[in-house]
């Protein structure tokens, strides 16, 4: 089943497809191997296509050589620069060397700072990971239990409550929410620090993970930990407000469809206690869509925190890309885009594998 792209069995008679037409056969090693191989192939293919798109954009963002040498360069200088950069080569060669550079982790040079983009991205990655991780954690704490409870009683008060929260979260632009939170949390109440980035300076010990909050906890530096959480909280809440609604909706809808399913009803009618049904039957059956949306969310968070980072001057990848965009410095932008997309593709394929491992309908062919 897993590998077939079009199972066209006979749909004969009034009773639907012949369920028993195929001899039940357990999954062979080959099937599992093929599935993993296909996912890997898909990962590589999509990554290459994504990189090809960024390659096209990079060639379209004006002639790089022209931008590098300034306005008053002579034709000779430009030609020399072009040759140096390989721009006189045919397109497929340029593409090949672009890909080769990518494989080596070379994302080009920033025109603003003259530093390699790869290095700058690597420096800023922990800040984005910290913010994204915190936002994801906050979202999960609300969305999963909230979604399940809402789904168990559709149109009940929990459903209405979390549904309204999700609706609001999805409608509010998160950069605006960030500003509002800054106004109330910093200017009005004075409970939170100024939106000037992370609480990096407070940490006295050596950085281990690059994620300040975790470093501070590891070093048992509690005042630094409190500080960094203070800096982290508002941007994390802001980011979570946008990320939580889809997770909640998907969880809720999955739960609703399981609760409405014939097998849920049947299990109850066979006398299986409601608790057991909810734990053993509901949870596995909503796992696939929930894992799927989590993968999408994680992929999104890698590059999606752009505006929240800008609003809170958070020194992550998003604010890096926007600053570069402002000065028409496109290599960093494309670097961040590429990293985010490849992360997305990777996480998505992993999620697929997890689903494959969990779902007997995929794992075991008929």
């Amino acid at each position: 089943m897993a590998l077939s792209t079009g199972p066209e069995l006979d749909r004969d008679g009034s009773t639907g497809p012949p369920q028993g037409a195929d001899e039940p056969a357990s999954a062979t090693r080959v099937d599992v191997f093929m599935y993993v191989a296909r996912k890997l192939g898909s990962l590589v293919l999509v990554s290459v296509l994504v990189a090809t798109l960024t390659f096209v954009v990079s060639r379209a963002t004006a002639d790089p050589s022209f931008l590098m040498v300034g306005q008053d360069a002579t034709d000779e200088i430009i030609a020399a620069r072009r040759a140096e950069m390989g721009l006189d080569q045919p397109m497929y060669r340029q593409w090949a060397s672009y890909m080769a550079d990518l494989v080596r982790g070379d994302l080009g040079i920033s025109r603003r700072t003259f530093a390699p983009v790869g290095g700058e991205i690597f420096e800023r990655l922990p800040a984005t990971v910290e913010l994204a991780g915190a936002a994801l954690l906050l979202s999960l704490l609300v969305a999963i239990p909230g979604g399940i409870r809402a789904g168990l009683r559709p149109d009940g008060w929990i459903d209405r409550l979390v549904g309204s929260i999700a609706q609001l979260g999805a409608a509010i632009p998160n950069f605006w929410l960030g500003l509002m939170l800054i106004y109330f949390g910093f200017y009005w109440l004075g409970w939170f620090p100024a939106p000037t980035g992370r609480g990096l300076f407070a940490l006295e010990s050596e950085s281990v993970t690059g994620i300040v909050t975790i470093d501070a906890i590891l070093a048992r530096d509690w005042s630094a930990a409190r500080d960094s959480v203070g800096y982290l909280l508002l941007p994390a809440v802001t980011l979570a407000s946008g990320v939580m609604p889809p997770i909640l909706n998907v969880t809720r809808n999955a739960a609703v469809s399981v609760v409405n399913s014939a097998y849920y009803e049947a299990a109850l009618s066979f006398g299986v206690p409601r608790r057991v049904v909810q734990r053993r039957l509901l949870l596995p059956n909503i796992s696939a869509p929930v894992i799927n949306i989590l993968a999408i969310t994680i992929g999104f968070l890698m590059g999606g925190a752009v505006l929240v980072e800008v609003v809170f001057s958070w020194p992550g990848l998003g604010s890096y890309a926007v600053a570069a965009m402002d000065s028409s410095d496109y290599n960093p932008v494309l670097g961040v885009v590429l990293l985010a997309s490849v992360t997305y593709v990777l996480v998505y394929q992993i999620a697929d594998l997890v689903t494959f491992a969990m779902d007997p309908r995929l794992r075991i062919s008929r």
Binding site: S4, T5, G6, D10, D12, G13, S14, D22, E23
Partner: protein, 341 residues
């Protein structure tokens, strides 16, 4: 329509329109039709699933041929391949003496006009987003080239012939009952003045109180228009009521063939006996129940395909078997051959 018990079991006698039938050649003849579904795979060869194995049949003018079998036996596939709804069939077929392409689906417009198909689900055979007249118009245009009949006239004739009025035409499918839709579905087939109409389980998704009106419509059309039909159903009650001749299919093979009355009175094949035992018809002289079905469709035994479920199976049943004909009856069973003679 009257039905005589024929001592010879010849189906020609049983149709009630003997003279016509004996003089004419069959409107449809199918020879050695096989059809295999393959599951497409990205890498490696797909698993084949043979839905039909060497099925041959003749349909005579004005006859209703009943095809009975359970889900997955290939009975719908038979109709769909002949009607050109499905392709890649292997074998030969002729309609009105002209060869019919079973493999490519390349039919002339006239051939598509000649062979019409009525689908099982009346709701499934009309686009829910369009008025039903839209669906009928396509067929009217198909027929216009040959019949020259204006589209609107054809539509009116069609609804009248199935006992509905013009007002039903500009309704959406969800504004009509299942029975009305099934009538329209039959009407759509009649628009083209077809030679053969396939009806795939025309009553199985209808309530029993509506079933009669569709069956009466079919027998009426046979009487009034001399329409030749192949009626496919899992329900032996329906088949034996309406059909002149019956084909019993099990796992892609014809296992028994004969006149309707004869088969109901003297079922020869164990599978026919089991079907009859399960139906509401009077039980056969020797009722028979089959064992639990755990068959594997991708593996077909060389011998009798029913043997794993058949309480009468013995060693020789695993040897290859042929459809053996005698006195207008054919049967594919070692044990039944003797009972026929």
């Amino acid at each position: 329509m009257t039905h005589h018990e024929s001592p010879t079991g010849s189906y020609d006698d049983a149709t009630g329109i003997d003279a016509e039938v004996e003089s004419g050649r069959p409107v449809l003849s199918v020879r050695e039709l096989s059809k295999t579904y393959t599951t497409k795979r990205l890498i490696g060869s797909g698993k084949g699933y043979q839905a039909l194995s060497n099925v041959s049949l003749d349909l005579r003018a004005g006859e209703i041929l009943g095809v009975v079998g359970e889900s997955g036996c290939g009975k719908s596939t038979l109709g769909k391949v002949i009607a050109g709804v499905e392709t890649t069939g292997i074998g030969g077929a002729e309609v009105g003496g002209q060869p019919l392409d079973l493999a490519q689906g390349t039919r002339t417009r006239d051939q598509r006009r000649q062979v019409q198909f009525v689908y099982q689900s009346p709701r499934g055979s009309f686009n829910p987003a369009r008025r039903v007249s839209a669906a009928l118009r396509y067929n009217a245009r198909l027929a216009r080239e040959v019949t020259g009949e204006p589209v609107d006239d054809a539509l009116e004739r069609a609804v009248k012939s199935v006992g509905l009025g013009a007002q039903h035409l500009d309704r959406y499918p969800n504004e009509l009952s299942g029975g009305q839709l099934q009538r329209l579905s039959i009407g759509r087939a009649l628009i083209t003045r077809p030679d053969i109409v396939f009806l795939d389980e025309p009553t199985s998704s209808l309530d029993v109180s509506v079933r009669g009106e569709i069956l009466n419509l079919l027998t009426g059309l046979r009487e009034s228009m001399g329409l030749s039909m192949i009626l496919v159903s899992h329900d032996l009650d329906v088949i034996s009521y309406v059909a002149d001749r019956i084909l019993v299919i099990y796992v892609g093979q014809i296992v028994e063939e004969g006149s309707a009355s004869d088969i109901v009175a003297r079922p020869a094949h164990p599978y026919t006996r089991a079907l009859l035992t399960a139906s509401s018809l009077p039980d056969p002289a020797e009722p028979l129940e089959l064992a639990v079905d755990v068959r594997d469709a991708s593996f077909l035994p060389t011998g009798c395909r029913l043997a794993p479920r058949c309480p009468l199976a013995e060693a020789r049943c695993s040897e290859p078997q042929h459809l053996v004909a005698s006195h207008g009856r054919s049967v594919r069973c070692w044990k039944a051959e003797s009972t026929l003679r």
